[in-house]
């Protein structure tokens, strides 16, 4: 196999499909021929993750928590039930925990062993979250990582890193930025970023109008 594989790499630029693309295509053909997968179901799965779930879901949760104290209380005491009120349930979001940032606490979520991530509220994880640098460094040097990403933490603020080693999925409830008094839930949701809900950024009013 390895010779074949090397050949493919050498010719990669001349070919429409690279090594893994060819392997994936061959595997799909085999599984369809064997009657183990229906390609239309694959299309539907892909459409779900490309268009139906994503960080917009999580942003709605955060905006609601910022504007509705009773919801926030439910969210922090039983996140799975509170998030289910929005219908954001299912795979990789079965048991949710919400972590509240405060002026004295910054929460950061990582999965050092693989790529655990709350799909129903954030969609599929970005490449950096699954990458070796983040998985290696988030637990040993969270302040360095946050500083590099433009979100440095003052010395008197506690950093809590959550390594997702079980079937619990974590969502950070960022601090509501100053200057958003009187904003509607939709306006607030529009400034909540994926990275803020992972914990590597804070929500910034200047996000408004960027999307």
């Amino acid at each position: 196999m390895s010779d074949h594989h090397d050949d493919e790499h050498a010719r990669e630029h001349d070919r429409p499909l690279s090594g893994p693309a060819l392997r994936a295509k061959a595997l799909e053909s085999l599984l369809v021929e064997k009657g183990l997968v229906d390609p239309k179901a694959l299309d539907e799965l892909i459409d779900t993750y490309e268009t139906k779930v994503g960080p917009r879901n999580g942003a709605r949760i955060v905006a609601r928590a910022w504007t509705d104290p009773a919801f926030k209380k439910r969210l922090l005491s039983d996140a799975s039930a509170a998030i289910a009120e929005f219908g954001f349930i299912g795979r990789q979001g079965e048991d949710m925990v919400v972590l509240e940032n405060t002026p004295k606490i910054r929460n950061v979520v990582v999965c050092t062993l693989c790529s655990c991530y709350p799909w129903p509220v954030l969609g599929l994880p970005p490449v950096w979250y699954k990458s070796a640098p983040y998985r290696a460094r988030a637990v040993i040097d969270p302040r360095g990582v946050l500083k590099e990403l433009g979100s440095g933490v003052p010395e008197d603020v506690e950093v809590r890193v959550w390594d997702s080693t079980a079937e619990l999925r974590y969502l950070v409830l960022p601090e509501r930025p100053a200057g958003t008094e009187g904003w509607s839930e939709d306006e607030l949701a529009a400034i909540v970023t994926r990275d803020a809900m992972i914990g590597v950024a804070q929500v910034n009013v200047s996000e408004r109008g960027r999307r």
Binding site: A21, E33, D95, P126, V161
Partner: protein, 218 residues
């Protein structure tokens, strides 16, 4: 297993680079691999912990060189062969030697329902908790050859139970023998300095989700 997947605390991996306006998938084949993994999981020939362990068993040099979905592709190939859905020869040639008999296949109309089903990592079993929030614990210094959710960086370290999540399947046995071994899973807080020494901030902490079988009283 002490694999390269257990990355917490490693040095030399480089900077964290966030891609602006990143697409969900960077190419069609990545999307197909993601969907194939889910659609093959529908056959229930393996569980999520067996799936994770397949990717952990990719040889370290390949694991580090592969992109994310290359790992998922290789892991899926291993799972299909090891669980008898595909023969090694079929995988090599790409041609089916026989049709799957009586297998019910995930259909497009069933996808939405399939993704909303709560899978049962949390269990109803009435198992007593060994620890209570606030108790001090010692993570075991154990290096199993098989799957474990206790990362190397926490082994032999002292922490405090932050909260009891309830009773969950124990992945370490579930991945190896399919034994669910239901037991309490806790969030355990380790002071950053307990894990990393004096270079770490005295204020900071790392929280890991660990099970009764990972912990002893401290």
């Amino acid at each position: 297993m002490n694999g390269v997947h257990d990355m917490g605390g490693m040095h030399g991996m480089g900077l964290v680079e966030i891609e602006k306006n990143e697409p969900v998938f960077h190419s069609d084949w990545e999307a197909r691999v993601h969907a194939l993994n889910l659609a093959c999981g529908f056959h229930r020939k393996w569980n999520i912990d067996i799936g994770r362990h397949s990717r952990e068993r990719i040889p370290p040099a390949e694991y580090l060189a592969f992109s994310y979905y290359e790992k998922w592709l290789r892991g899926l190939e291993m799972l299909l062969v090891e669980n008898g859905l595909v023969t090694p020869k079929e995988l090599e040639t790409g041609r089916a030697e026989s049709k799957a008999s009586g297998a019910s296949v995930l259909r497009a109309s069933e996808v939405a329902g399939f993704l909303r089903v709560r899978r049962l990592a949390r269990m109803d079993d009435d198992v007593p908790a060994k620890f209570r929030p606030g108790e001090r614990v010692l993570a075991r210094n154990d290096h199993p050859l098989g799957h474990t959710r206790l990362p190397r960086y926490a082994r032999g370290k002292r922490g405090v139970i932050d909260r009891d999540h309830g009773v969950f399947i124990f992945p370490d046995t579930h991945a190896m023998t399919r034994d669910r071994k239901p037991q309490h899973c806790y969030s355990v807080r380790f002071a950053a300095r307990e894990l990393w020494g004096p270079r770490a901030s005295a204020r900071d902490g790392v929280y890991l989700d660990l099970w009764d079988d990972h912990l002893d009283p401290a």
